[in-house]
Symmetry: C2
Subunit: 240 residues, 2 copies
């Protein structure tokens, strides 16, 4: 099965959670919008009315045969068993998906630190509000989320190296990406918090060192962090 | 199977999407925090460390036998086939879940109109920001979401009465709840938008008239809208 990923070509964004799963599994996939030349230009047409009526609201979308799926966590839930990145039992899959949805909540809140008023406006147009929201994120929300995931690693009966069971899942890959993004966006805050979250730091390191992930991160397929995506480094939002 | 719902007893909130599905299916369930006397007081203990390591981040949570599930859309995905509220085919289930996640996005944005800075602060402490965010929600985001769902009803090959296939699903129930909430929170804006969204208005009416839903809405089990929940009526946020 050749998978087709439809996502914006200039950012990691939410598409990156899908890319990491496909890369770790060495899956056969095409990142449509990043095809050379003009071939990828029409990627947004997947948002036009579909013949089966199943049109996505937004990207990323994944095409698998005739199926078009969107919503990042939903795509990962679909890919998980096919790529060997989630256990087979229903209870474990529900748990993995539940964690992925909690990661999605954290990602949304990280995004809203620089866009608390409107995603259609520039950061500069909502900077006073961003300063306030980012302060609350650093003081309240981020510690709550990181503390939760650190605690889960500690109480996982199968060991503290993975969030779901005893082996790597797409949830570990996604949490790696979130930590990488937070390290980029909030380096001072994260440096301060790291000593209190040793299991998360170790998970982040282990994922980065996996051969396929390391190769991906060093390749041109990995888009660098920038000031268009979810995780943006604005020093004024990272005061401690 | 007797289901146990764990959610705040004073608000509809995200728990209401679960309640509606359980009510429509006439499922055997207990709304733990609303049990009479002191029996429901310990509902938050479900957020304490679980022996199997699968602790929810937040409520609502559903207990089904030994399984504890959280994240609203995940709970509905679990209940859907068990309550006969989603088609059997995998593609249809993924589609239903994708729509539910898009509804969750809309619900989050509706909440953030009155809490754009911090969920831990009062509305009055973030009112200038709320005025700005609500203006963008009314002008940009709400029309985009409602237009999307109206369009989906129109292009559903199985007819314009349901979002998924040819019969009622938990997604229809959730969209009913969103429209009811928006009508409460933004009555002027919604009155202005209604003529352009006739299929949504008809779906909302039909769901409200279903015998079990009508009985539920008229019962004391339905908590009234209030100024603690997601959908709050602050007239200043509903200027047109």
């Amino acid at each position: 099965m050749r998978y087709e990923l439809y996502y914006w070509p200039e950012i990691q964004g939410r598409g990156e959670f899908i890319r990491l799963a496909l890369e770790e599994a060495a899956a056969d996939y095409v990142d449509i919008a990043r095809l050379p030349g003009k071939r990828g230009n029409a990627f947004e047409r997947i948002l036009e009315d579909a013949a089966d009526g199943r049109t996505p609201f937004a990207l990323p979308a994944l095409k698998a045969g005739k199926l078009v799926i969107s919503q990042t966590a939903n795509i990962l839930q679909f890919l998980g068993p096919r790529l060997g990145l989630v256990p087979k039992a229903e209870a474990a899959r529900l748990w993995a998906h539940q964690l992925q949805l909690t990661i999605a909540d954290l990602v949304g809140e990280a995004h809203d630190t620089h866009h608390p008023i409107a995603s259609g406006l520039y950061y500069e147009e909502q900077k006073p509000e961003a300063l306030r929201r980012a302060a609350d994120f650093r003081a309240q929300r981020l510690p709550k989320f990181l503390g939760y995931f650190e605690r889960l690693l500690g109480i996982n009966p199968a060991g503290d190296r993975h969030l779901v069971g005893r082996s790597l899942s797409y949830v570990d890959l996604s949490l790696f990406q979130v930590i990488a993004g937070l390290d980029h966006a909030f380096p001072r805050t994260m440096a301060r918090m790291r000593p209190r979250h040793p299991l998360l730091a170790a998970l982040h390191r282990r994922v980065a060192e996996r051969p396929r992930i390391a190769a991906y991160l060093a390749s041109e397929r990995r888009i660098p962090f920038n000031e268009y995506g979810i995780f943006r480094h604005y020093p004024e939002l990272d005061k401690t």
